[in-house]
Symmetry: C2
């Protein structure tokens, strides 16, 4: 964490739009640098409200997120007091048998299942300890002008209007960002939003009657079924948040209790007694599947006044567990740039925009790819062979051969470099196999000749 | 062209937003089917106004556009009385020498340079001959509701508001479509807008003092210079519209008259006396380069009420000369679907959405690729060798081997199939070269053996 600003230096008035995970973390980073931060959130204070359905309840925290929490002094609180370590994937076969695939057999590193609400609350609470952060809940952004740095909010309760001015506006308002919508009016703003054909629906495996876990807790459980899958992450109260990912058209086809039970009996037999038949029917038909969108845009800034971070800049599909981690890493990268440029906003924003998109695009593509790995490839012998080779080479050459998953999840190597790393590894393996083949061919040739 | 509707059939009230090329053509198609069409245009009637700077003055009309014009009985008027045939690319080398590359040496087909204003005027004028088309100029769309098919326009002169209801809303309002912005609020709407790093600036080569062309007229003139290029298309008044395509940063670097002339002397020497030094300086510094955007989205429709066509659905960069042609083809495809489904809007819209995007995505990618071909590859021996092979095989097997450019420009093969066609041709060529290589190797081997 960089030092606080001296009194002589200009303190910026920063308006952060969005008080979710990334917005409230960025508030801490900036406040700790000595700037004055106002945090505006459209919803009520998350500490007063139950979680809205359709937003994931728990998240996988890995090294990039942990590094950011460490920077603001909250890593221990999250990891040791709240996070549930997951050291391996636990694969559930259709017949109910399972096997584990460790994430990192070499050093036994793990990812942590953390509650979204809890993490958000911790971050907001920490900001209350700082004099230079103000929080405004129930404030909806209705108008913005990036040229003069003015924002107009509507107070959701009184419908009053509030106009504020800021030296810097940070849009951390999620995948459907209002700040980004305003940025789209700028010339030369590249943007894409891509929905996948799959939706997701959350179910729940409750704690057992003694208040304990019904499945081994230190795993991310996966039921890979080719074109769809189910996963489960452990919660602090020993329940599991279960998420079913499936094409929307398949969700539609399951339109009766009978069909639902038949479907679960065929594909997720072992989960039925854990969820409970009645609860399964209630939860399945009680909600409708939510959509999954990937957002890419570029640049992330306008003039020296406004910047997008987190999902507002690069929402990704959730299959690499990197959405929050990438958003938190944005805050770390930004803090490093504030340090590098001595809080000169124009330089910070320009370099962030010019550099960060490569990593954001890379993690987005990785997340798309990982859905296929999780729901399908993970079942295939070729995948398991490759994983064994990767794990062996990683054990043999830990500094040289870092497998893709490990570089993304357990290192802070830029995402873009993780991808290029993997491409290089693929080439090495292909050439090695070719050389090995030729070697065997030559051996065989001379062997036959010498006996001819 | 399909038949008019019988009296018994339901006549639809169709509101077309956008009275540009595609909107006014679609009005004719629908009116000729017997539907009642209201055409709303944000600008004034193009017949009363000079062309806005920054929109291309002339366009290349090829077979897809011609087919649509033929359907509404306007092909002869455009081609014979107005279009200027271009039968080849005329490549200008830096030293001022030129050579021609015919588009279609086999059957000598050509593309036509047509004026945007003239073509738009012809289409609007034709609609005045039909009782069931109403035109509303200076009407800006300010609000739309696709559920009940209501649209609110503001009259630009009086600032009055006009609310209308329609059975079908067609958004033909260009790359920055207002109708599409409303559609983006729908769930599961995929969208991307991608700006390229190059901008364009229009210059002019006037007619000579006798009122004739200063360059051979039946060519599309190209000055390919690697990372940038200039092109010229002939106009009816014997002037040329010259367009310089170049990265924005290069435009920026040319910030003085001296630098401009040095630049032109180095790269476009032969064009300076044609444009005239004074006019070159005036036109170059009189405007600023415009941006080029490619838009992809999916689906194109909402419920059975609203549909996007033309640039609103799929704006492409201009390097294949297919933007207008693809938009006109949308109208033809739609007309065929209206015929197929007997004017059942829901079926028409759904099939258009489900089928057309593949071709739209394909032509967009082709246009991106063709920029590299036009500004760079065209200069390379490998490109010219491939073109010779393609032309020879096309001459030999005209039904089997249609080169990419010819399939896109001189056939109505769906764009997506043109691309797959090319991929298949690439494979055949690669295998042929491999086989030829092996054959030569074997010949050589036996030849040496028999003399050994």
């Amino acid at each position: 964490m960089s030092n606080q600003l001296g009194d002589a230096k200009k303190k910026l008035n920063v308006a952060i739009v969005g008080g979710g995970l990334v917005g409230s973390l960025e508030a801490l980073y900036l406040a700790k640098r000595g700037h004055r931060v106002s945090l505006y959130e459209y919803r009520d204070d998350i500490r007063n409200t139950p979680l809205a359905r359709g937003r994931s309840i728990n998240l996988a925290l890995s090294i990039r997120g942990r590094r950011a929490l460490k920077d603001v002094g909250l890593e221990d609180l999250m990891i040791n007091q709240h996070g549930i370590p997951m050291r391996a994937r636990m694969i559930h076969r259709p017949d109910g048998t399972t096997y584990a695939m460790p994430y990192d057999p070499r050093t036994n590193q793990c990812i942590y299942s953390v509650g979204r609400n809890y993490l958000n609350s911790i971050l907001l609470k920490e900001s209350e300890n700082l004099d230079n952060v103000e929080r405004y809940f129930n404030h909806k952004l209705v108008k913005s002008n990036f040229k003069d740095g003015s924002l107009t909010f509507m107070k959701m309760d009184t419908k009053e209007s509030l106009q504020v001015n800021a030296d810097l506006i940070i849009g951390a308002d999620g995948a459907f960002s209002t700040v980004r919508k305003e940025m789209m009016k700028q010339p030369l703003f590249n943007f894409s939003q891509q929905y996948i054909e799959h939706g997701y629906l959350e179910l729940c495996i409750p704690a057992d009657k003694d208040g304990g876990f019904q499945m081994p807790p230190n795993y991310l459980h996966i039921w890979p079924r080719g074109n769809f899958m189910m996963i489960a992450l452990p919660n602090q109260d020993c329940s599991w948040t279960v998420t079913l990912f499936m094409p929307f058209k398949n969700f539609k086809e399951i339109n009766s209790e009978g069909k639902l039970l038949d479907f679960f009996k065929k594909y997720f037999q072992d989960s039925i007694p854990l969820i409970g038949e009645k609860k399964l029917i209630e939860d399945f038909f009680g909600g409708s599947p939510s959509a999954l969108v990937a957002v890419k845009c570029r640049p992330y800034h306008v003039c020296d006044k406004a910047l997008l971070i987190g999902d507002a800049a690069h929402a990704v599909v959730p299959f690499y567990g990197q959405g929050m981690n990438a958003g938190f890493e944005d805050c770390t990268v930004l803090d490093n740039l504030f340090q590098k440029y001595d809080d000169d906003v124009a330089s910070v924003l320009e370099e962030f925009s010019n550099a960060r998109w490569r990593d954001a695009f890379a993690v987005s593509d990785l997340a798309m790819y990982n859905y296929i790995e999780m729901r399908d490839l993970v079942n295939r012998p070729s995948y398991r062979l490759r994983k064994s080779v990767d794990d062996f080479l990683y054990w043999l050459l830990p500094d040289i051969w870092v497998p893709l998953y490990n570089s993304v999840t357990f290192s802070t190597m830029p995402y873009d470099q993780c991808v290029r790393n993997r491409q290089w590894q693929n080439k090495v393996l292909a050439i090695s196999i070719l050389c090995l083949g030729m070697f065997l061919f030559i051996i065989l040739f001379y062997y036959r000749r010498s006996y001819a």
